[in-house]
Subunit: 409 residues, 2 copies
Amino acid sequence: MVNINENFQKLQAGYLFPEIGRRRRAFEAANPDARVISMGIGDVTQPLAGAVVEAMKAAAEQMGKAETFRGYDDGGVGYDFLREAIAKNDFGSRGVEIKPDEIFVSDGAKCDTGNIQEIFGLSNVVAVTDPVYPVYVDTNVMAGRTGGAAENGRYDGIVYLACTEENGFVAEPPNDKVDIIYLCFPNNPTGAVAKKEQLAGWVAYAKENKAVILFDAAYEAFISDPAIPHSIYEIPGARDVAIEFRSYSKTAGFTGVRCAFTVVPDGLTAYTKSGDAVAVAPIWKRRQCTKFNGVSYITQSGAAAIYSDAGKRQTQEIIDIYMSNAKVIREALGKFGYTVYGGVNAPYIWLKTPDGVGSWEFFDLLLNKAHVVGTPGAGFGSAGEGYFRLTAFGTVDNVAEALDRISKI
Amino acid sequence: MVNINENFQKLQAGYLFPEIGRRRRAFEAANPDARVISMGIGDVTQPLAGAVVEAMKAAAEQMGKAETFRGYDDGGVGYDFLREAIAKNDFGSRGVEIKPDEIFVSDGAKCDTGNIQEIFGLSNVVAVTDPVYPVYVDTNVMAGRTGGAAENGRYDGIVYLACTEENGFVAEPPNDKVDIIYLCFPNNPTGAVAKKEQLAGWVAYAKENKAVILFDAAYEAFISDPAIPHSIYEIPGARDVAIEFRSYSKTAGFTGVRCAFTVVPDGLTAYTKSGDAVAVAPIWKRRQCTKFNGVSYITQSGAAAIYSDAGKRQTQEIIDIYMSNAKVIREALGKFGYTVYGGVNAPYIWLKTPDGVGSWEFFDLLLNKAHVVGTPGAGFGSAGEGYFRLTAFGTVDNVAEALDRISKI
C-alpha cells in the first residue's frame, strides 16, 4: 500500500498567495464592475529590457539552425558565458571573489531556496525570522523537520526569530544553538536591510556554532544606500558559512522567464553525525545533476544580456520606476497617517495596520473599500500579525490610483 | 553543528553521464587529433522546428511590450493554452480523456521523475526495472529510502526486476508486495516496448496491492507499431493507479529548451499509515506551487507550437530522421554480427557485447578503436552488464561514419 508523505498534511491551509487569489476571485465574482489593483503578490509589470528580448530572439534563431543548435547544458549548472558574467558583475565589481564554478544557475530562487534543505540532514534545527517568506518553512515541513503547527501557525521544532519595530525588523542571533539559518536581506516582506555589522554578527554566530546561513539576496538590486552590503560575501569569513541565492525575477523582470543562481563557495562544509567535515558544493552539484537539467539556452542568453551595457542601463531604468513607486507609496501612506517601514532599499512597504486591526481584516477592508489587493502580514508568520505588505511592482498609474482610493477609506 | 544529508554518501561514484564525459575528455586530451562521435548521452542534434522557433521569438517580443508582458505563470502548473493542447493532442486523439487540470507542466521529465518521490512516505518499498534510468534510483537513495549499495551496485531496500533477453526486456510484476513502481516504455536504455496486455498486468498488480505506477513515457513519440500503447491511460483502470511523465526533450528537440509535463489523474490516491485514502494530485500541486514557479512563457509558447499543423509536421520529420538512424544502426550492427535489440519503437539500440566482454570494457574498446562514445549497459544496473546502449540522436553523417569505424574493429 503506497503511503503518502504525511508531512504535507501538517501544512496549513493553502500557500499564502493562492489564498489571496481565492479571496480576490470571490470579490470579483461578487463585484464584476470593480477594477481590482494588485499590490499583493510580488509580480512585476514592466516589460523585459530590449537587450534581453533581442538576446533571446537571437538565441531562439540559433536553436533553429543545425550549426548553432544547443542541447543539454552539460552538467546542468549553467553556461560559462553566464557564470563568468555573474562572477564579474555581481561579485567582482563589489570586491568579492566568487569563481564561476561556485555559481549554480537555476530556474528560480524559489526552487533553490526550497530545494537546498534536501542536502542537509533531517535532524538539523532550522531557524527562520518571523515574518518570513513561507517557502523556507513549508519546504522544511514537507521534508519532515518539524512537528505540527500550533494555533499561531508556528511549527514545532522550528526556531522563530521575531522581527519587530523594536529590533528594526532585523533579528539578532539566538541564544540557542541552531544549525540552519534562513536570512533574507533586503527582506521580504518587511523591506528591512541588514548593516554590515549585523551580518557580521550572524557570520560569527555561524562560525562558532558550525551552522550554515542560507542567505536570500533576491532583492539586492533595490538597495539604494551605499553602506548596505549586497552580498553576504562582503562580510569577511562568510564564504565558510553561507550559501547565497540570487534571482533575476525582480531585478530584470524575469518572473515569467525563470532564471536565478545560487552560490555555494568551495570550502563551505557541513558535517556527518560522527563529526567529519564534508564539502557542500559537490553535494549540491550532485543534487542538481540528478534532479535538474539546466536552464534553457534562450533564457540564459537573455540573462547574460542583463550584464551588457545596454542591459545594465535598461534594467536600472526598470528598477528606478519601481523604487519611485515605493517612494510614492511610502510618502502617501505616511501622509494618510499610517506607520510604514521598508520601501527605501527594497520594493516592499511594510505597513502597520491602524488601531490594532488584524492583517486579514485589513486585507478584506482594503479589497472591499479600495479594491486594492495587498498581502496580510500574518501570512508571513505570527509576528507579521498587525502588519500588511504592499509591493512597488505595479504600474505608475495603478499605484497612483490605488493610493487615491486608499486616501478615501 | 549542521549535518549533511548522509544519504548522498551512499551514492556510487558519479552520475553515469559525468563519468562517461570524464573518460571521453581524458581520451581526447591524449588523442587531440581524434574526432570522437557521440552515440552515448541521449542528446539530440537536429535543430528546433521552425514553428517552435517562430513561436518563441514572437513570445519574446510580447515579453518586451507592456501590453503583452507576462509575469508569473499563476499557480506554476502551466498555461491553459498549453495544457489544453496537450489534453487534446496527446490524449484525446488516442481516445484517452485527460483534463487540462490533471496536467502539470514542468521544466523536465528528469525533474519530475526525480521530484515525484517526495510526495510519498519514506517507508514505501520501491521497485525498479534493471537496467534502469539512474534518476529513479538515485533520487530515492538521496531521500533515504534505501540502505547502502552492494558490490553489484544494487541498493539495499530497493526491489530490482531484471529485464533480460528471456523476458524480452519487459519485467513482469513481482511476487512480493511493492508500493511504488517505476516503469519506462519505450524503455531507456533497452528500447523495449510494453504491449497493452503487459501494461494491463501491471495495472492489475497496482490495483490489487494499492501500489502506484510511475510511468515514464518520454519516448512515446518514437513508437512505430500501431498496436503499442503511447500512454498507460490507454489501459482501463490506469487512471486510478498511475502517474505519467512526458517530455518534449526528445520528441521536439527540447533538451536545451526544457519543457515537460506530468499527468496526475483526479481520483488517484495514496494512503496515510492509518489507511485513509488521500488524493495525490493536490499534494503534487502543493509541492509544485511551493518549490517550483512554472516554466518560461516563451518556452511554453514554443511547446504549444509543436501542436500546430506545421509544428506536428516538422517535429515528425525530425523523429523520422532519428528513427531512420536507428534502423541504419540496427541493421549495420546486425550485419557486423552483433546481437541488437530496440531501435524499432525507440531511439535506443541495446547491443549485446560480443564474447561476454564487460560493458565498460566495450566502452573503452569503442572509444579507443572507433572513437565512438556509447553508454555501458552496466551503468544502468547490474542486469545491464554485458550490454551497451547506442542512441539514434546523432546526425546522419556521424551515424554513417561511426558505423564505418565500428565495422573495422
